[in-house]
């Protein structure tokens, strides 16, 4: 087969697969503007009339602004905490030789293999006794505890590439240890910080089971939980469900559009180091 023919063939094959892959999203998108009757009669065609009231209703039913607010609070606390605490710990562990720091580092790394389902029962109980259950802030804090291990691992590796002379000269100039870290080191960690923040955002924002176990009050539901509840309650009301699915997916797709390059680099970076 000539090179040209192969080339055309791969393009055709890729395009077909791309259409198939995009098909479900396209179906949800066009049908979210239809009435129930129109969905049942002509599911493939474009809507004859745009029923924006589906969206108005979905907006209300999943309490969109409030759910987004809750998701933002959880993600902000979780990711902020993971980045700051893990950067400090990863940096120090990387710079301190000796048995104690090796053991601590090993404990962090080993825990990366523990599946969430093996800890969910004691974790739920722990959250209840600390009175963190039911609170978005509490959920954010729990994410810090569950997420620092991988972040520490990544920071630990990255810090090795930063020359020690920088800290030493800063300390000669009279910087304290914390000052040295926050003024000199932390800014230098930016590339890996971006990676860590993105990986954790995708995890925390899209996570389902932990919020399901932790958040009991509808007012505190994250976006994913609110949509899950709506899906369970209005099983057959497709216009409403589809509109809410679109609303739930939009924030992530927008973020994907903006940060695509960083997300893909982050995944490769995280995977290669791991």
């Amino acid at each position: 087969m000539s090179v040209r023919a192969t080339n055309v063939l791969t393009t055709v094959l890729l395009s077909l697969l791309a259409i198939l892959s995009f098909f479900p999203v396209y179906m949800v998108l066009i049908n979210s503007f239809k009435s129930q009757a129109e969905i049942f009669s002509s599911i493939l065609s474009l809507p004859t009339q745009l029923h924006f009231e589906n969206y108005a209703q979905a907006f209300q039913r999943i309490n969109l602004l409030n759910s987004v607010k809750n998701s933002v609070i959880v993600s902000f606390i979780g990711i902020g905490g993971i980045v700051f605490l893990a950067a400090m710990a990863g940096y120090k562990l990387s710079r301190t030789p000796g048995k104690v720091s090796n053991i601590i580092f090993f404990l962090f790394i080993a825990s990366m293999l523990v599946p969430f389902h093996s800890i969910m029962i004691p974790l739920t109980r722990m959250a209840r006794s600390l009175e963190l259950q039911g609170s978005t802030y509490g959920l954010g804090i729990i994410y810090i505890g569950l997420g620092v291990n991988m972040a520490i691992f990544l920071y630990h590796g990255f810090v090795k590439s930063i020359p020690r002379e920088l800290e030493e000269s800063a300390q000669m100039d009279g910087c304290g240890e914390f000052q040295t870290f926050f003024r000199i080191i932390f800014p230098l960690l930016l590339p890996i910080t971006v990676t860590i923040a993105i990986l954790n955002f995708l995890w925390v924002w899209n996570d389902f089971l932990l919020p399901l176990l932790m958040l009991t009050d509808v007012e505190r539901y994250t976006l994913i939980l609110a949509t899950n509840m709506l899906f369970g309650e209005y099983t057959k009301e497709w216009p409403l469900i589809l509109a809410s699915l679109v609303l739930t997916a939009i924030p992530v797709v927008i973020i994907y559009g903006f940060f695509q390059r960083f997300i893909m680099e982050g995944i490769t970076e995280g995977a290669v180091k791991g």
Binding site: T6, K92, H117, S118, G145, E177, T248
Partner: protein, 295 residues
Amino acid sequence: MLQSGYKKYMSLLAFVGPAFILYFIFLMLPTLGGMYYSITDWNGLNRDYEFIGFGNFVEALREDPDFIKSLLFTMKYVIVMVVLQNVFALFLAVLIESKMRSKGFFRTIFFMPNMISMIISAFIWTFVFTQVLPQLAQMTSLLSFLDQSWLGDPNISFFSIILVSLWNGVGYMMIIYLAGLQGVPQSLKEAAIIDGANPFQSFFHITLPMITHAITICLFLTLNGAFKVFDTVYGLTGGGPGRSTQVITMNIYEEAFSNNFRYGYASAKSVILFVIILIFTFIQVSVMKKREVES
């Protein structure tokens, strides 16, 4: 720079302490707690519990057909997923890598489903399975095979679950394989072609050995992820009909939170899951590491 022992530990404590405390409370203690509860008969309703040794483990593996069934179902899922997810991801990566101009476009399209949370993906596909495909089947007799009970018949819903998991997960692995493929020097492939290798030979003898590291990583990620599958099945079938598509994580969840609150017993099951994942991961990593050294 010399630091006194005391000062060194104080600064270690100040920097590592905050992260370690949260890690200790929310990850380490629950891990140990789960192991501890697994040898008790604690249920959520009673305050008191007793040690019953390995009783829970014996019960789970011997007298709990639902658990064994979920274990076997999960195994089947893991095997199919690990193979298909990697084959598809690598296949896509190779095709995309060969493109010059449209590379970015296809990468964006195939990776996009990965951005959508798994439970939302499951809902999107529920619509496709229950509404779109049956209507498609009615339109032409050519597509009548699409009229299936995609989520109601356990034999078919296994494939539906696989399909949705692939749709959601292939993109991630594809990105890692793409990065791996970019590391294969063009000169090597050209040399092989000059020496008369066909594209398949060049792929299996040049490219594949050069990306062993990426394969190790992706096998590790898919293996780990597949054992922990929950959201997709929860959203698509809820484990049903009956318990026919129940995966192991769901069985644990049901035992602990929606059935009879037998926390001790559910903990034993989760320890079994942990051990299975450890064994498989260990085997996979050690086998692949050996290969990496050889190639």
